[in-house]
């Protein structure tokens, strides 16, 4: 009893210190983003928030001239959201269906096809970015959401995970469903999808964050400022920090950074609940 108390105390101290260590830079960025740029320029990074929160954030969200490009942060957040959601939802749907075909239908070349898909795991986006660009350009999809999302939507990782999951679903469930008069489509919708909720949540979280954080791809695919994502926006703001002999725009850059990190955090928090509930529910 005595010993375990001590142990839990030390555990907590370590955890708290660790969290502080992780949170501190974020906090400093936030606190600093609420000061004027002159104040920040003179006094350096700030630990305590200042009084310009609404002014700075309002400006960057709604005023085009605040960022370097002719686009508001709100628009960029929206673009990122479209990319992140399209990316995540698309990947979940496509990989679920691909895995369904591979696991439940006996067609010729199923295995080779699976391995081909699997092998693309080995090729990161950067490797195939030039041909991908070519394809998107020839299809006339540059500077469109479709062009941003569609070429990335096939997911070897997702397909692989769903495949593993489906294979762990007992065959008897399929057989029971067949006897119950459920065709392939019904079985997928009524049984497989609900059983995969945990998996869907997990893949969705991962893919959303990956999609949200895409940098190189949207940079190549978009030349129109109106399609910039928030990640590109941050890069632009930092690029322009020292341009034009003005006082650097540190608060704005920090504000943009903070805003860029909120949606992924929200997605993780919300879906993690589902994820945990799913884990508890599908047990047994």
């Amino acid at each position: 009893m005595y010993q375990s108390k001590w142990r839990s105390l030390t555990n907590h101290v370590i955890l708290i210190l660790g969290s502080l260590f992780m949170i501190m830079p974020v906090w400093i960025a936030f606190a600093s983003s609420t000061h004027t740029r002159e104040f920040l320029f003179q006094n350096g990074l700030q630990f305590l928030p200042g009084g310009h929160f609404f002014e700075n954030y309002g400006k960057i969200l709604f005023d085009q001239s605040a960022t370097k490009g002719r686009v508001t942060a709100l628009q960029m957040l929206f673009n990122s959201m479209v990319l992140g959601l399209g990316f995540a939802i698309g990947k979940v749907i496509i990989s679920m269906m691909a895995a369904y075909a591979i696991v439940y239908f006996r067609f010729r070349l199923a295995m080779p096809l699976f391995w081909v898909i699997f092998a693309t795991l080995l090729l990161p986006l950067e490797v195939r970015i030039v041909p991908s660009y070519e394809v998107v350009a020839k299809l006339g999809l540059l500077n469109s959401y479709t062009g941003l999302i569609l070429p990335l939507i096939a997911s070897a990782t997702g397909t692989f995970f769903f495949r593993q999951f489906y294979r762990s679903v007992p065959d008897e469930l399929l057989e029971a469903a067949r006897l119950d008069g459920a065709g392939p489509w019904r079985f997928f919708i009524d049984i497989l999808v609900p059983l995969s909720v945990t998996m869907i949540a997990a893949i969705f979280i991962i893919m959303f964050v990956v999609g949200w954080n895409q940098y190189l791809w949207p940079l190549l695919m978009t030349t129109d400022d109106q399609l910039y994502t928030i990640v590109i926006g941050i890069k632009q703001v930092y690029n322009s920090l020292y341009e034009g002999g003005q006082i650097p725009q540190f608060p704005k850059a920090f504000a943009l950074t903070i805003m860029a990190s909120i949606p992924p955090v929200l997605v993780v928090v919300i879906f993690q609940r589902m994820f945990v509930r799913g884990l508890v529910e599908t047990e047994k």
Binding site: E172, L173, A176, A177, R178, L179, D180, A182, P194, K284
Partner: protein, 356 residues
């Protein structure tokens, strides 16, 4: 409700393995047929072929007067109960039972009526809103049966439905299944490798071995006149004793390996090599006579109501089991003389194993 007809049914799996070697079977309307046999003999394969979950390589299966070889499982009008229940984990028990009806386009009221009725029959009424995982194994098995009976199918197929349950529950559920089947009068095929289940449930027993039906008959007929040595050894517990022997010149005796002469009243050719089969419960202890077997006690097992004595016999140390009523104790090495009424001695051909 319907008859079930299997004509020369064969199954060869995609890998070339021949699991079923031509089975003929006719199950009449309302009959409870039990497929029993050792692991790997093809019981599940045969049942799944009736269900439509495995293709039929050769032969013909008909349900009622319709040949169903190419009919999809859902259209065969049969319901199946699986060993691991195969309930849909994310659906309530109610939804589990209703799913098949829903897919067949029954209206809500009819579904509700049937599910509630099945719930009452199976004492599940309070549990209908729960999920399967919130039930005990026995209750889950009931839901699985509920899912089968709401469909009011032509036939029930059971694949070892009780083997995940503990011994006590298994006995209870066995009685329940029997009751239910008699009440509904639905033709049923039941797979098990538990011969007590087989004996108690079956109107007709099909003993399978290596993909063939070794014997088909009522449980008592099979017990009393097993057609082959395999069937004799498989049905009955503890299993039948087998001793090698040879029929004497005058055909009145069979001579065992140590020279013991067992009296016979069979009509059998002289000097024929045979296997003598005697059930443990048909042996008794007597004073030594012309026609008694002298054997040495190896181990005694007391089960309270009865005692099993394991003995060895003759120079070849052939094993003999003796089953006695009540409690008895013998020390290892004790010598007992055993006797069996000639009418309870079975003879099998040594080479083919067929009954003589």
């Amino acid at each position: 409700m319907a008859t079930l007809n299997l004509k020369q049914v064969e199954k060869t799996y995609a890998n070339g393995y021949k699991a079923i070697h031509g089975i003929n079977l006719e199950i009449s309307d309302g009959e409870f047929a039990v497929l029993v046999g050792p692991s790997g003999c093809g019981k599940s394969t045969l049942l799944r072929m009736i269900a439509g979950l495995e293709t039929i390589s050769d032969g013909e299966i008909s349900i009622g007067d319709r040949v169903v070889n190419t009919v999809a499982p859902a259209d065969r009008d049969i319901a199946m109960v699986f060993q691991n229940y195969a309930l849909y984990p994310h659906m309530s028990n109610y939804a589990n039972m209703a799913y098949g009806l829903k897919n067949r386009g029954y209206n809500k009221d009819e579904i509700d009526r049937r599910v509630r009725e099945a719930g009452t029959i199976l004492q599940l009424t309070e549990l209908l809103d729960r999920k399967p995982r919130q039930l005990s194994g026995g209750q889950r098995q009931r839901v699985a049966m509920g899912r089968a009976i709401v469909r009011e199918p032509k036939a029930f197929l059971f694949d070892e439905p009780l083997s995940n349950l503990d011994a006590k529950l298994r006995v209870d559920m066995r009685l329940e299944i029997k009751n239910l089947q008699q009440r509904l009068g639905t033709t049923s095929v039941y797979v098990t490798h538990d011969q007590v289940e087989a004996m108690t449930l079956a109107d007709r027993l099909i003993v399978m071995n290596g993909g063939v039906a070794e014997q088909i008959g009522s449980p008592i007929d099979i017990y009393n006149t097993p057609a082959t040595r395999f069937v004799a050894g498989f049905i009955g517990s503890p299993s039948m004793n087998f001793l090698d022997g040879r029929v004497s010149n005058d055909r009145s005796h069979v001579v065992l390996t140590d020279g013991t002469r067992l009296a016979l009243d069979h009509n059998v050719a002289e000097n024929r090599d045979v296997v003598v089969g005697v059930r443990p419960e048909h042996l008794s202890i007597t004073t030594p006579t012309e026609s008694s077997i002298a054997a040495k006690v190896r181990i005694t097992e007391s089960l309270g109501a009865e005692t099993l004595v394991y003995l060895t016999f003759g120079s070849k140390n052939e094993a003999i089991t003796l089953r006695m009523q009540g409690t008895h104790t013998y020390a290892a090495g004790d010598e007992l003389t055993l006797y069996s009424n000639p009418s309870q001695i079975h003879l099998f051909d040594q080479a083919s194993g067929r009954r003589i």
